[in-house]
Symmetry: C2
Subunit: 220 residues, 2 copies
């Protein structure tokens, strides 16, 4: 069976809407509207309604959405109503930024192990998590039943680490190393290349320079 045809961009926007709903919740707002959410996410209101419509009926016509209920519904759609055990491999500057990112914690992503090859980092602690040597990766990730691995190492070691993560039983890998990884079909893989984002920008800038109207990229 194929997954329902839900555009990838819809999922990423739901994640952004959810972030904004959480902010409204913190601010004590009770109800909201699609124009309101749209403004917070930088899209148009019809887009918000269309994205939500893939998953059912939300809100009440003329009244809007209950912030807490919609936030919960979106979290459920994204499967963020549970805790996810995450292993972080590579504790350079990017790994550090990921581990410290407030949003990960808020959203139920729980860093259960961190690995690095630098002897000076091994044995030190980050938020009560001891940094372990690479040699322990497979054993520890399997023992913890960790489902997600995040790779923030240089490109040349990323494939071997992905292989280890797969052997240890993870179901998904988020790869920040600037190289394409091969993993079995059953593993969800997402690759983020920091430089690609900059290059999409320069493409659009050149379009503008040539006199084309800005086709503001669909962000996120």
């Amino acid at each position: 069976m194929r997954a329902p045809k839900i555009p990838e961009a819809t999922i990423t926007r739901l994640s952004v809407y959810s972030r904004y709903l959480m902010k409204m919740k913190r601010q004590g707002k009770i109800t909201t509207s699609s124009p309101d959410i749209a403004q917070g996410a930088g899209v148009n209101p019809a887009q918000v309604r269309k994205d939500l419509s893939f998953f059912g009926e939300f809100g009440t016509r003329g009244v809007g959405y209950n912030v807490e209920q919609l936030n919960w519904d979106v979290l459920k759609i994204l499967s963020l109503d549970e805790e996810w055990s995450v292993a972080l491999v590579g504790f350079g500057h990017l790994g550090h930024a990921v581990a410290m990112h407030r949003v990960f914690k808020e959203r139920g992503f729980n860093f259960t192990s961190i690995f690095d090859r630098d002897p000076e980092k091994i044995g030190t602690k980050v938020k009560d998590i001891e940094i372990l040597p690479m040699e322990q990766l497979e054993k520890v990730v399997a023992q913890n039943h960790t489902r997600i691995g995040i790779i923030t190492t240089p490109a040349d070691s990323a494939q071997a680490i992905a292989d280890s993560l797969v052997r240890a039983g993870v179901q998904a890998i988020l790869n920040f190393a600037p190289v394409h990884l091969s993993v079995p079909e059953t593993i969800e893989l997402r690759e983020v290349d920091l430089a690609v984002n900059l290059e999409v920008l320069t493409f659009h800038m050149e379009m503008q320079r040539q006199g084309f109207a800005s086709s503001r990229p669909a962000n996120f």
Copy 2:
């Protein structure tokens, strides 16, 4: 006039193809093919041909592509055949990771100024670039005719920084702060949220768990 209808995903894939073409060039390869590029980028060969077809005719039927020529053509499409002056605002772990990212330098992105608010960082140097106080941002960015600003600060200061960058004359902003920014229509804005990528993964994992075949996300 509207920009030609080129899918956003095509641009991001071109950037990935180009990275792989550069690698082949370094390895001394003379010719390549769409299956070859496809494998290096994790897509299918028809996708490679379709993406390139938006921009004209490349390669020779039965022979393939000349690596150096195609690499140059793709760089030109992405406007990477010139140097881009970039200002980096925020020198925490993420800012550090961005400044040190090998790929940015390789691709003609030239960090001409770095700003932070931490008195301990101000005055120190990173790759010969002195870290400057935030108060100098507008003046220095304007003087350097910097066209791109990268924001890697916490969410709460990001909008004010974006406003300063716009006043200083940048044409594009890459925002890593987990908040949506408002900028004038003429500014190209791209927002990267590290956590969103993880949430797209969990959505797909849940789809798999529910028995749907993996709809491997279109990466990058």
